[in-house]
C-alpha cells in the first residue's frame, strides 16, 4: 500500500506513454484522411500538431520524465471544485450549452478535437495513482468504454439530427429517406452480422487473455466490503439512496421509471420526426430524454463508479481513498424546520399508546408542512402548468394523458429537487413518517 506506490507509478507512466503514442498515430491518420478525403489543409496541420504534442508526451512518459505527471496543484484544484452539487450543475450546464451550440459541436473536426482533449485529460490523469487505480480497475473498464461509446453515439445522433433539421428547413427529405433504408438480407445483413460476430469473439478472447475476472474474496456476512457497490448499471439507484429514503429510491423510483417508459408510446402525440433523426421536430422529447437519461441516470452511475469511495464518501478524481475521511452529514427533516426554526416551537410528539387513528392524526399534524407542500406540488402544479407553460400540451393531449405526463415529469423532477434540498438546506425528508415506513 505504501511501498507499492512508486512501482505503480513506474508501470503506469510507461503505459501512459504508449497510450500517448497511439493517440499520436491516430492523429496522424486523421491528418492524412483530412488531407486526402476532405482536402482541408488547416485541419491537417492542426492534427499533425496534435500528433506531435502527443508524440512528445509519449516520449517523455516512456523516458519516465516527471514532466508528464499531472501537476499537484491542478489535481488539488480539480478535487476542490468537484462535488456532487458542482458535478450535477456542471453537467446540466454542459447539456444546455451542447444543446444550444449543437450546430457547432457536430462539426467533425470539433468532435475530433473534443476526443483529443479527453485523451489528454485521461493521459494526464492516469499518472495519478488514485485515478489510475480507480479507472484501471478491471471492473470499471466497461464503464470507461461506455462513456466513450455513449459520447460517440450521442454526438453521431445529434450530427445526423442537425443535418436533417437543416435539410428539412431547406425542404429536402431527411437523409434516411433519401438513401432508402432497404438492404438485402444476403449479403448485406448476414455477412455484416457474421463479421461482427467474428470481431466480437476476437475482442472477447483478447480481453479475457489480458484481464482476469475481477473476483474478490469469499463473501463474509460479518465483513462487508467498503464500499459495497451495486453492479454498475444500478449505481445510479445506489447514488439516489444518498438523497432519498430506501423505500423511495429502491422501489418507488424504479417502478415509476418502468411505468413511465411503458407509457411513452401512449403519451407521445407528436406525429413528426418518425423514422429519422431530428431535434427541431421533437424538441420536447429530445430534451426530456437528454435530461432524464444523461443527467439523472448516466451521471449518477459515473459518480457512483468513480467518485464514491469507502463509506460511500465522495472523493475527487485524484483524492486518496482514505476510509477515515470525515464527511459531515447533517440530516434535517422538513417538519423540524417548520416547527422549530420557523414557528419556534417543539415538534409535536406522537402519543405512544394512542389508538390507530389518533396516532395517524398526530403524525399528519407533525408532518403537516411536508404533506401540504407535497400535495400542492402534485395537485396544484399540473393545472397551473396546464394554463401556462404547457397549455398546448393540455389542449392536444386531453386531461387524462396530460395529467399522467405531468405527474411523471413532476416525479422525475423530485430527484433533482431532493438533491438540491439536501445540498442547500440539508433537508433529508420532506415528509417523514418512520412510524409507517414512509419517508419522502
Amino acid at each position: 500500500m505504501h511501498a507499492g506506490a512508486s512501482e505503480l507509478m513506474e508501470s503506469t507512466v510507461t503505459r501512459v506513454g504508449w497510450f500517448y503514442l497511439i493517440a499520436s498515430v491516430v492523429n496522424v491518420i486523421a491528418a492524412v484522411r483530412s488531407w486526402r478525403k476532405q482536402r482541408k489543409p488547416a485541419w491537417t496541420i492542426a492534427w499533425l500538431l496534435v500528433a506531435a504534442v502527443f508524440g512528445g508526451l509519449g516520449g517523455l512518459a516512456l523516458g519516465h520524465s516527471p514532466l508528464v505527471l499531472m501537476p499537484e496543484s491542478l489535481k488539488a484544484a480539480a478535487d476542490a471544485t468537484l462535488g456532487p452539487a458542482t458535478l450535477t450543475l456542471g453537467c446540466f450546464a454542459t447539456l444546455v450549452v451542447l444543446y444550444l451550440g449543437r450546430r457547432f459541436f457536430v462539426i467533425p473536426a470539433v468532435g475530433w478535437a473534443m476526443l483529443n482533449a479527453s485523451w489528454l485529460f485521461l493521459g494526464l490523469s492516469m499518472t495519478d495513482a488514485e485515478f489510475a487505480a480507480v479507472v484501471g480497475m478491471a471492473d470499471n473498464l466497461p464503464i470507461v468504454a461506455m462513456v466513450y461509446l455513449l459520447a460517440f453515439f450521442t454526438w453521431w445522433g445529434a450530427a445526423q439530427a442537425v443535418e436533417n433539421d437543416r435539410r428539412l428547413k431547406r425542404g429536402s427529405p431527411p437523409l434516411e429517406k433519401e438513401h432508402g433504408e432497404k438492404v438485402l438480407v444476403w449479403p448485406d445483413l448476414v455477412y455484416t452480422e457474421l463479421i461482427c460476430m467474428v470481431l466480437a469473439t476476437a475482442v472477447l478472447v483478447a480481453w479475457s487473455l489480458v484481464l482476469k475476472a475481477p473476483l474478490e474474496q469469499p463473501a463474509n456476512p460479518v465483513v462487508t466490503p467498503n464500499p459495497s457497490k451495486a453492479p454498475w448499471y444500478f449505481l445510479g439507484l445506489q447514488e439516489l439512496l444518498t438523497y432519498s429514503d430506501a423505500w423511495n429510491a429502491g422501489i418507488v423510483v424504479p417502478c415509476l421509471i418502468v411505468l413511465g417508459l411503458m407509457a411513452i408510446p401512449y403519451l407521445d402525440f407528436n406525429r413528426q420526426g418518425s423514422g429519422y433523426y431530428t431535434i427541431r421536430e421533437r424538441r420536447f422529447a429530445y430534451l426530456v430524454f437528454q435530461f432524464g437519461f444523461l443527467q439523472l441516470w448516466v451521471l449518477l452511475i459515473l459518480i457512483g463508479t468513480f467518485m464514491r469511495g469507502p463509506n460511500w464518501t465522495f472523493f475527487g478524481l485524484y483524492g486518496v481513498r482514505d476510509p477515515h475521511k470525515l464527511s459531515a452529514l447533517e440530516n434535517v427533516k422538513l417538519s423540524d424546520c417548520f416547527w422549530v426554526t420557523m414557528l419556534g416551537r417543539g415538534v409535536p410528539q406522537v402519543p405512544a399508546d394512542a389508538g390507530l387513528l389518533v396516532k395517524l392524526g398526530h403524525v399528519f399534524w407533525r408532518e403537516i408542512a411536508g404533506v401540504v407542500l407535497t400535495a400542492l406540488y402534485f395537485i396544484a402544479l399540473p393545472p397551473l402548468l396546464g394554463r401556462t407553460v404547457l397549455r398546448s400540451f393540455r389542449r392536444r393531449m386531453g386531461f387524462g394523458r396530460y395529467t399522467l405526463m405531468v405527474f411523471l415529469l413532476l416525479a422525475m423532477a423530485t430527484l433533482p429537487l431532493e438533491m438540491f434540498l439536501r445540498w442547500t438546506f440539508s433537508v433529508s425528508y420532506v415528509v417523514s413518517m418512520p412510524e409507517y415506513l414512509l419517508n419522502f
Partner: protein
Amino acid sequence: MRATEKTYYSIRRLHLWMAASSLALLAVTVWALIADHTRQWKQYQRTFQDRIQPWMTQARIAEEQGRESPDEEELGRLRQVLSRQQPSLGKRLLRLPLIDALGRPLAAEQIWLPELTIDYNFRRVARFDRCVTCHQGIDQAEPGRPREPALRPEEVLSVELTTAGRAPEAGENGAGQKTPPSLEGVYGLVLAEQGILDPSAVTIERVLPKTPAAEARLTAGDVILKINDQEPIDRAAAQRHLLEEAERGRAPTEGWSLQLEIRRGLPQPYSSHPRPDLFVGSMSPHPMSEFGCTICHEGQGSATEFKWASHTPNDPGQREQWRGQYGWFENSHWDFPMLPKRFAESRCLKCHHQVTDLEASRRWPDPPAEKLLAGYQLVRQSGCFGCHEIKGFDESGRSIGPDMRLEPSSQEAVRGVPPGTMRKVGPSLREVAGRLDAGFLDNWIGNPSAFRPETRMPRFFGLHEHLDGVSLAEAKRFEAVEIRAITEYLLSTSRPVELQAPPPEVTERPSAQRGKRLFEVQGCLACHKHRDFPRGQATQGADLSQLGAKYSSQAGAAWLASWIRDPTRHSPRTVMPSPLLTPIPLEAEYGDATSQIPNPKSEIRNPKSEIRMTDPAADIAAYLLEGRGWQPKARAPLNEGDLDELALLHLGKVYGEKLARRYLKEGIAESTADRVQGDAAELRGEMTVEKKLRYVGRRTIGKRGCYGCHDIPGFEDAQPIGPALTDWGRKQESLLAFEQIDEFVEPAVPAGAKQSGAARLAAAGTAAPSDAPDQGFFLDALLAHRREGFIWQKLRAPRSFDFRTAAEKDYNQWLTMGRFQLSDQQREAIITFVLGLVAEPPASAYVYRPDPREKAIVEGRKVLEKYACAQCHTLETERWTFEFDPAKFEDPPPVPDYDFLRPRVSPEQMTASLKTDNRGLGSAEVAGMPRVDAQGKLLIVDEDQDEQGRAVYQYSLALWEPAVIHGKVWTVGGASPLVCGPEIVEGRLAAGRVDVTKWGVRLTGIRPPVGGSLARLLYPVVLAEARASGRGPLEGEAWGWLPPPLVGEGAKVQPAWLHGFLLAPERIRPSSVLRMPQYNMSAEEAGKLVDYFAATSGVEFPYSSHARSRSGYLEEMERQRPHPEGTRLEQALKLLTASGTDCVKCHLLGDYRPGSGAGATLAPNLERVGRRIRPEYLRRWLANPKTVLPYTPMTVNFPPAGPPLEPEVFGGNATEQLDAIMDLLLNYDRYLGGRTSIRQLVPPAIGAAANRSEGKQ
C-alpha cells in the same frame, strides 16, 4: 420490391473486413494457445520431466556403479526407469497444446481433502490443493535415507578440494593409447556436458569414490560457481583451470588445496520438502496425500500460478525479487495468505494443542518446531495468559488449541470444565508488607529493570515515547500518583506474616560465609542466578545478586530466612520447592572445603549431644542479604492535587462529576455506604489521603491488570483485562486499532516539525527501523496493517498505538500494556506462537491424539517444565556423531559378561553400521557423557596439530547406550570410543577440518544433553572440595554425589515408590551433596511424572508387578533348590554379609552401617531396594553396575567368569548367587516379617478366647 443484384455495401470491402477479422480471430486463438502452452506450471512440469528426473536417475546409476559391488538388479531397474524418463517423440506429441488436455504427461495435479475443510464464511468446503502441480518433487525422500530430501533445496557452499600436489598424469584408454590428463584421473570428478536447469552451468556429473572430490564431499549435480574466487566461464575453462591448479599444487606446500564455491540443490519449485520423515513423505506422520499443503502453509491451494497462490515473502528483499521474477503482488482478496517462512511453524498449533508434543524426541531428535516451542515457553514464563485468555476449548468442550488459562483462585471460582491449570507467574503479594518497604516498592513498580535488569516483569510506567505536549505532562503527573497509590494499596491490604522459626536445636548465629557455600551446592543455582557464580545461568527464578538491597529492613531479612525454610508456608502456590534443609552440626572441619560432603553425623544425629548446630536456611539468607549495590531513588513527595484529579477521573465516571467531588471531599458517609459498590468502597467514612490513595491504587491495579501475574487481595475474582488470544491468529485485521501508527514508525514523516516515531523509538532505546530483513518484514506488515505487524509493534512499543490519539482520550482510556524485555528473536517466537492460535481445529481425525504412552510423555513434560526438573537432572544424554576410516578405527576390547547383559543388535543395525560412503568412510552416532576433567571441562585425552598448525583434539565419551560401530558392539560400561575433532567451545564444534585419513576418526556433530546443567556446574566444585580434604575420588565418582541423570529412570524404579518419593522425597544416597527438595506438587502431577518416566523408558505402566514378589514364588524356589543349612533367603543374607562379597563394605542394611566409611563412600540402604528398584534393572545392576550407570564406583561383585564367591555359604554358580541376592532384596520385607513373631506379643487370654469361639462354630 423485386430483388436486384445490387448490394448496399461493397462486397469486395466486406470480403476485406471478413478476411481481416478472421485473421484477428486466428491471431487471438493462437495467442490463447501460446498463453496456455507457456503457463507457468506446464513449463515447470516439462523441466521436471525432461531434465531433473533423468538427471536424478543418472546420478543414482552412477552412484550404484561406483560401489565396490554394484547391485546389478538395482542397476537394471534404474536403467529401465531412465529409459522411461528420457524425453521421447510420443511424450512430446502428448504435450502439444490441446492434446495435453488429455491429462498426461502434463496435468494439473490436485489433492482432494474433503475432511480438511476451509472456512468460506457461509459454509466449510473441501480443500483442494494443486500445489504439487508445480512442486512436483516435493514428497521425494532420498532412497534409503528417509530424513533427507531427494531434491535438496538450493544452497551455496564453499568446499576445499585437495589436489594431488603433482602434475596430472596422462591416462590410458582401453586400447593402450595415451590420453591427456583428465579431471577424472586427477580429482575423480566428471563434468557434465550440460547443467541440469541452465545448460551452460558447470555441473558435476559424477564423483568417483575415494578420490579428492569424494573427500571434499562433492556430489553429482553440484554446480561450480567459483574456483579460487574466479568464476569459470564455461565447462572447458573450468576443466583447464582445475588441471592447472592441480599442477601448481606441487609448488608451495604439500597438500595445496583449492577453494571451490559450489551451488548445490535445486531452486523451488523443484526441490523436495525439508525433513520428509516428518512432513509430506508417505511414511511420515503428515503424508501429503492425507494432509495436502494449505492446511499447514495456508495460501490459495487451488491456484496454479505463483502469484495467485498467495505466496508470502519472508523479507523485503525476497518480496522485490518475487515481484520481478514472478510478478508477485499482495493479493488482499485471499483471506488466508501463505505464511512466510519465518512463521511456518505456527500452524502446528492447529492440531498439536498440547504443544509439548512438538519437543524433540528420540524419534525426531531435531526439534520439529523449535521457534514455536520457544514462543510457547516465553508465553508461559512471561505470563501473557494472565491478561490475555488463551482458552483451549470452545463452548461445546471441543479442544481448539493450547489451553493456557489461569488456574482458578478458589474452588468457587472454577468456571468451565476442566478449569485452567496455569499458575500466576509473579509472586503472591498477600504478605508484601512483611518483607518490603514502600521505598523499594515505589522503585520496583516504577521500573522493575532498574533493580533487576533481567526481570520478566514488564515495565508499566515511564513509557512515553509516543507522547508529547499535554499528554506527556499528564502521563508524568498521574503515573507518579499511580505508583504511590499501588504501593499504598498493597501495603495496607497485606496480611501479617507468620514466620517459620529456626529449628530449636540450632545454636550458632547465621554466617554469610557458610551461606555462600550452601547457596552454591544446595541447588539454589538450579533456578537462580547470582553474580558470585557466573557459571550459573539459570533463568527459572530471579537473579538474587542484590537481594540485600531489596530486603533492607529487619523484617525483610527475617522473612527471607523463613521463606527459604519453607516457601509454601508463605505462598501456597509457589513453584519454589522447600529445600528440606535440616540443621547441620558445626564441626571442626566445617569451615574448610570438605564441609559439603555430608557427614554421617548429620544423618544419624544424637540430639542430646553437645554438637553445635547451624541453620543452613539462616546462613543462606545471611549470604544473600550481603548482596547490595543498588540504591533506591528517593520517593518524590506526593502531589495531592494530582491525586484528587486522578481520583475524580475514576470516580466521576461512576457517580458523575458533582457527586464525585462531594465524595472526594467528604468521604462516603456510612449511611449511604450500602449504595456504594466496587472499588469506591475504599472511600467509606472520613476522607483521608490514604483512602484516596487506596482507591486510586485499587483502580490502577484493576486497570493495569497487575493481578494477572500476582495474587493480590481484593482481586480474587477479577477477569483477565486484555483481549483474548484464543483465536487471535485469525482475528480480522480490520478490528485491530492501528490508529496513527503509520506516522509513528515511518521514518519519512511529512511536515518535519514533529519528531518521527523512528527517532522516538531510537531515543527510547527500542530498536529503530532499519533495512534489516526482519525489521523490514515487520515494518512492511505494520504499514500494510497486517496482524503480524500489529503484534510486533505491540511487543516492541505497546503504547505507541496511542500516538496522537492519546490527546483525544481520557487518561484512563489510554493503552495499558506494559513493555516486556524481549530480544528480536524472542518477539518473533512469541508472534509465531500467537499467530498459531486460530481456534480452528481440523476434522477430529487430524487433531493430534497421542496414544497413552505419548500422552504420558506430553503431560509429563509439562510437569517437568513447571518444576524445572531438568535444571538438576539430565533427561537425555549428549549425542555425538562422527565419521571414521574403518581401516584405522580401533575395535573395542572384548569383555566377558553375562548373556543377559549383551545388547541386542538387529541384523539391519549391523548392516547399516557397515555402510560406507563414497569416501570409504563409515559414520556412527553414540550417546553418553563426555569425560570431563576436574574443572568440569571436556577432557582432552590427546592433542596434536595438523600440517597447517591447527590443533586437533582427542576426546572420550562414556557410553550410556550400547553402540554398533562398523559391525562391532560397544557396550555401556566398557571401553569408551576416542574421537578426534577440532576444539569444542561451549558444547559446539569450532570450525576446522580434521583429516580422517590421518586420524582415523572425526567428530562431525554434537547434540547437547537435555537437562542436568546444575550437575555439570557442581561437579568441579564438589570434586575440588573432596580433593582438598584429601579424598581423591575415582574418576567420575563425584557424579554420584550430585543429582542423578534420569535417563531410563522409568526402567529403574517402581512406579509406586517413585510417586511417593516425588511427593515426600527421602534421602536415598548418603553420599549425595544435596537432596531432592520437596515440591509443592499435587498427587496428580506426581502421577504424571511417574507415567512420563515409564513411558520414556519403554516399560509397562501405569501398573507393574514382578514375578519374584508373587506369593508362592519363594516356596517354589525353595522346592527347586533346597538349601540344607537354612531357607533360601537366610542363605542369601549370609552371602550378602559374607566378606567375599563386598556388599556391606559400603551399603547400609537395616540398622547396620559400615564402620569406617565416610559419607562419600557410603552407599544406599539395601532394605529399601525391594520397594524401589525394578527387578530387571536390579539384575543388570548386580551383574555389572557399570553397564547401567557408567560412573558408579560399585564394582562387579559376581564376576561371570571364574569360580563363584563363597561357595560354602551359597552353592551354585554366579548366576544362581545373583538370583538369590535378588530374591532377598526384593523380598526383604517378607523375610523380616518371617523373623518377627506376633504370637508372642498377643496375651494368652485373647488367644484362648479366639480359639473357643472357633470351637463353638
